[in-house]
Amino acid sequence: MVPVMWIELIARDGGVALRQRIDAEEARIGRAFDNDLVVDDPHVAPHHLRVYRGADGELVAEDLGTLNGLYTEHGARRVRSLSLAREPVIRIGRTTLRVHDGAHEVPPERPLTPPGRHVRWDAGLAVALFAAVLLGNWLNLTGEPNANALVLPLLGLATILVAWSGIWALLSRIFVGQSLFALHLRIALTASIALVLWAQVAEIAAYALAWREMSEYAGLGAWAVLAATCYAHLHAMGPRHMRMATGVLMALIVAGASLQYFQKWASRTENGQRVTLGDLKPPVLRAVPLAKPDDFFKRTETVKARVDAARVKEPPPGALSDSD
């Protein structure tokens, strides 16, 4: 009996457009109609490729002397012939093919997950997030207690989460063929919880350690969370689009964060620091020892040195004139 082989025509989105069973020792591929697989690609020769079994029984693809030739996956290098056991994906013209031996091993059957489990998990995350946001809002509520002020942000947050997950689901649908909405929603929920926690941790740390820079640059942590979230979304979409998309996204996020912090830095240089005690927390959260007044006022010398340096360094144009 002749062993079976399968030739798959890979679509642009990475899915299989056509799968052809070949029950012969050899298969011929090209644009002409006497081939075993006919490919409608003007860059493919009428008789382009031959797939046959080599001496050791492994499948081999061979270029039949064409103009555009035979390439490995992604068109990395042109070859005369190559063994398909190790590199099953090949390119001819603008067409990508995959050839499998009938003996190709497939992963074992995956058990069906009961749909309720994910839903319960998601609902738990959502409840945790909303509880955290509600608690945060309530602890920051200094005016009249107002149901609107407490609940409206939750509605806004829910809308943003659904919209965000929806956009990722749409992208998944386009590139992977599956929307994966529940997965994207779960990622978004987890990320939001991380953001809320980070904001709290940063505020409390800035207060407890009397660490002004922490409160000024806590936003960088939020950017990092955003970057991790986007990575997770891309990872969920599968490894195929990972490398380039990740690169582009991370570059965008780094650019965004740098721009924001450059602006902040420039504004600080221009306008200086504000007279503020920062985000205060209950005094019991203080974690650093009290400075002696003498030491505190000694440190004002460094403040004086900074403004003296600024005074000498940067007289802006027209600074010394009254007229304008």
Binding site: W138, T142, A210, A291, P293, D294, V303, V307, A310, R311
Partner: protein
């Protein structure tokens, strides 16, 4: 509170800002004073007749355009052509002699250049010289120099208000202003922008004071610099070397430094007393020129969730250095906060929203450097609550060693009540700022 906001403003007249259409109504006929048999209008006529060849309009002109940018008044005090005016009338020229020049205009239409000989920033005075020998002069009133002028005496302010022409205004001498660090005569009469630096004389035409400021929001509340400061500056101008105009900026810096040294010295000499704020104690200056005002939110509707009792004290000093620099103020405030139904987190949030002090103003941004701060938790030891303190400073670009400094202090011993104290010092040296700040911070203690 509204009274505090009504600050005294120097009477500098920026020409572009004058409402030309508004002509001041003629003064109503005044009552006859007991000591003279003649009606008052006749006295004013005599005073003006006497003063006319002796008063000047002092104009600051833009070199490039040759046109006036600001105007004030002045008066001749010596046959050698020396004249007195306000520092704020000539400040643009003093700080930037390459952009501006000074010129005088006499009531008879004569005009010519003015030379700046001496300045006194603290008393807002300047001595200028008219290149015109043999002019008649004013004398200073000896009773005014000795401080023996009776309250209620009729005095006459002269100058060129709003560039409308030389004018004489009758008013009343009301003694020195109470609760003022700078010596100023309270003049009850209308003085207006453009009259700055003009003389105020008694009925015999002798100078009692110099027009300097009025209170916006008051009616006919004017301020004069006592004549003795002008006499002293005149003596200094005659005795000492004349001011080198290119070095005037350094002279202003020296005077600012001397002023703040004397002011903080006086503050220390006047001493402080403890003032209770809830369970805490703070500091209160015994100086009569520190005026304090209290406020509360207890009567707010709906009932506030944080009760606030605030005391704000201000030195009511103000030093005009230039159009952009008004300095020399000392403010301190205590606000005692008590949570009504807020928890500790909410109360801390409420305090964070209240605590921000003055943002650095973009106007001053050119004249002052950007602000730099340092903050920490501070403890002054036994009897003192733990504190959260922020110290911020800006330097004056034009004057070395002069700063604006702010100290913000919050007590950190209880979750639901706190004392927020703020100290703001303008135009102060580092040493005085730190000494005052440390005194202020260490005075915060538990009263029970």
């Amino acid at each position: 509170m509204s009274f505090r906001a009504a600050a005294a403003v120097p009477l500098l007249l920026a020409v572009c800002a004058v409402p030309w259409a508004q002509q001041p109504p003629p003064a109503p006929p005044a009552a006859t004073p007991p000591e003279t048999a003649q009606p008052l209008s006749t006295a004013a006529e005599r005073v003006y007749d006497f003063a006319k060849p002796r008063i000047l309009q002092v104009r600051t002109l833009l070199q490039a355009a040759g046109r006036q940018t600001t105007i004030g008044s002045g008066f001749i005090v010596g046959a050698d052509g020396l004249a007195i005016t306000n520092y704020h009338v000539v400040s643009q020229f003093a700080l930037d002699p390459r952009t501006y020049r000074l010129e005088y205009l006499a009531p008879d239409g004569a005009n010519g250049p003015l030379t700046l000989l001496a300045i006194d920033v603290a008393n807002d005075l300047a001595v200028v010289k008219v290149e015109h020998a043999g002019l008649p002069e004013f004398e200073f009133e000896p009773r005014a120099l000795a401080g023996r002028l009776p309250k209620g005496e009729r005095i006459y302010a002269m100058g060129n208000p709003l560039d409308l022409g030389f004018t004489i205004v009758e008013g009343t001498y009301n003694g020195l202003v109470d609760k003022s660090y700078d010596e100023r005569i309270h003049f009850s009469g209308a003085i207006n922008p453009g009259m700055s630096g003009g003389p105020v004389t008694a009925a015999d035409g002798r100078v009692v004071g110099i027009n300097v400021a009025k209170r916006v929001g008051g009616e006919q509340v004017g301020f004069l610099v006592p004549a003795r400061h002008a006499a002293a500056l005149l003596e200094r101008a005659r005795a000492g070397p004349p001011l080198v105009v290119d070095k005037a900026r350094e002279e202003v810096g020296r005077q600012l430094d001397a002023w703040q040294a004397a002011f903080y010295d006086a503050l220390r000499k006047q001493d402080f007393r403890a003032a209770p704020f809830g369970p805490y104690r703070g500091l209160e200056s015994k100086a009569p020129w520190m005026t304090c005002w209290a406020s509360t939110n207890a009567d707010r509707v709906p009932k506030p969730r944080t009760a606030v009792n605030m005391t704000q004290c201000s030195s009511t000093t103000g030093l005009f250095v230039s159009n952009r620099i008004l300095t020399g103020r000392l403010d301190f405030s205590y606000a005692y906060y008590q949570a009504v139904d807020l928890n500790a987190f909410q109360f801390a949030k409420e305090l964070s929203q209240r605590a921000p002090g003055p943002a650095s103003d973009p106007q001053g941004g050119r004249r002052l450097t950007a602000q730099e701060c340092h903050d920490d938790f501070v403890g002054a030891g036994e009897g003192h609550p733990p504190l959260r303190a922020t110290w911020c400073m800006r330097a004056y670009r034009d004057f070395e060693g002069i700063y604006d400094a702010t100290l913000l202090v919050l007590t950190q011993d209880r979750g639901r009540e706190a004392l927020l104290a703020q100290l703001t010092m303008q135009g102060v040296s580092q040493a005085n700022a730190v000494a005052t700040g440390q005194r202020f911070l260490e005075a915060i203690e538990w009263s029970r």
